[in-house]
């Protein structure tokens, strides 16, 4: 899975980043790069079976603390 994710993201980088770089669309390039790095990191963490914290629990607890069950 780990290798699959790396291969997938390599293809994505070729498909998305190179055209943006060539067209010199720097805003698009950097926004895409930040989103791409975050999504790649999460993909790798998921492949390594790392539990990613969900915001659902704190939101639920906050709402229960305000409005009750």
């Amino acid at each position: 899975m780990f290798i699959l994710a790396i291969i997938g993201y390599t293809f994505l980088a070729i498909y998305e980043f190179i055209p943006l770089y060539k067209q010199k669309l720097w805003h698009d390039f950097w926004a895409n790069a930040v989103l791409g790095i975050s999504s790649f990191t999460i993909a790798i963490l998921l492949c390594l079976n790392v539990e990613i914290p969900s915001p659902e629990k704190p939101i639920r607890e906050l709402i229960i603390s305000i409005f009750g069950k």
Binding site: E16, L25, D28, A31, I42, L46, E51, P55
Partner: protein, 362 residues
């Protein structure tokens, strides 16, 4: 960014499929059992004033979408903060809808397959649809909606032998308060979720359109939801609350002779297409918002990465189906209230003031 335009008909179709999308299968009304259909009506009535607000905001700034309006009405700094809030809401809602689909496939169709596979498959289709743009999404929905209507009507007719209309009684047996709570739940999921269409209807062709589109869209989808809820109650009775997907369970009871049975797949068709449209709209609004925030040339350049993030988020958002159901009926109405009611009212008031000031200076 190039200007995309959709016709009123396409917009109404998008709105109908967006509203009936996940609510048809997950059900509406929370835990009011056989009064869920009344909760549906109450929710629809509660949504009418908010629809007026949404359409008024759109008609004040014709041709502008949510993020342009935020910039004009609230100024650059506050506008950006509220834009971030709406980007989060669109992203989160898209992930929740994808998760509904993942749970549905996991529970009823492919229990052995990892949920990530089904999420990735649908998520990729949504990414492609959003990259193609709102025009393609609108046209696709217009072609598919008659098929969905046909499926729904045929299934309703086939369910007639299984109906026990006495299950609907006692009407208001749980008391008025629980029906109002159910109505509030129905208001927030699915009717007031249409707030996200402020981010899409900047592409409408005529100035009068937002009112017309919102009202026809909500009216038709409310009728479909109420009829389906009545069918579910009349087939399943008080057991309705014990199912994660009541429509699927209700249609599973249909048996005509010895040859026409197990037609649950018809429900799945409607659900899959509804989830596809709803997630795509959420992804589109999130990407448009990010695009406007960072002055991108085209929102399409970030669709793939945002879509992948949405898929990962939907995978990690809940631990199990119980949490999903609890969230949908108990937590979500309160969580969504600021996005669906408070912020739109603030935007509307600021937009009215801004529009009047502009008129006076002219």
């Amino acid at each position: 960014m190039q200007k995309e335009q959709i016709t009123d008909k396409e917009a109404i179709c998008l709105l109908i499929v967006f509203v009936i999308g996940s609510s048809l299968i997950v059900g509406v009304g929370g835990e009011v059992n056989n009064d869920a259909w009344i909760a549906g009506i109450v929710g629809c009535i509660m949504a009418i004033p908010m629809l007026l607000v949404f359409s008024r905001i759109l008609s004040l700034f014709q041709g502008k979408d949510l993020f342009d309006i935020l910039n004009i009405a609230l100024g650059k700094v506050i506008g950006r903060i509220v834009a971030i809030i709406y980007i989060w809401y669109a992203f989160h809602l898209g992930a929740l809808v994808l998760r509904n689909f993942g749970e549905f496939i996991k529970i009823v169709a492919m229990p052995e397959t990892p949920m990530f596979v089904s999420l990735l498959c649908l998520g990729l289709v949504c990414i492609i649809a959003v990259r193609l743009g709102i025009e393609v999404l609108g046209r696709t929905t217009t072609y598919f909606l008659p098929i969905l209507f046909f499926t729904l009507v045929v299934v309703e007719l086939l369910a007639i032998p299984q109906l026990h209309l006495d299950y609907i009684k006692p009407i208001l047996g749980n008391g008025l308060i629980s029906v109002l709570k159910g109505g509030f739940s129905t208001f927030s999921f699915p009717f007031a979720e249409t707030v996200l269409f402020i981010g899409v209807f900047g592409s409408l062709k005529t100035k009068k359109s937002p009112f017309k589109v919102y009202y026809w869209g909500i009216l038709i989808s409310a009728i479909i939801i109420i009829i389906t809820t009545i069918r579910n109650i009349a087939v399943l009775g008080n057991m309705m609350d014990s199912f994660y997907f009541p429509s699927y369970a209700a249609v599973g009871r249909i048996k005509i002779g010895d040859f026409l049975e197990r037609i649950e797949v018809s429900v799945a068709i409607v659900f899959v297409f509804g989830v596809f449209v709803k997630s795509s709209i959420c992804l589109l609004v999130a990407c448009k918002g990010i695009g406007k925030m960072f002055n991108l040339k085209d929102y399409r350049s970030i669709v793939i990465q945002t879509g992948l993030l949405m898929i990962y988020f939907s995978y990690t958002v809940f631990d199990n189906s119980m949490e999903m159901k609890y969230w949908a009926f108990k937590v979500y109405p309160f969580y969504a209230f600021p996005f669906q009611v408070i912020l739109p009212i603030i935007i509307w008031i600021s937009a009215e003031i801004k529009a009047r000031k502009n008129k006076m200076t002219i």
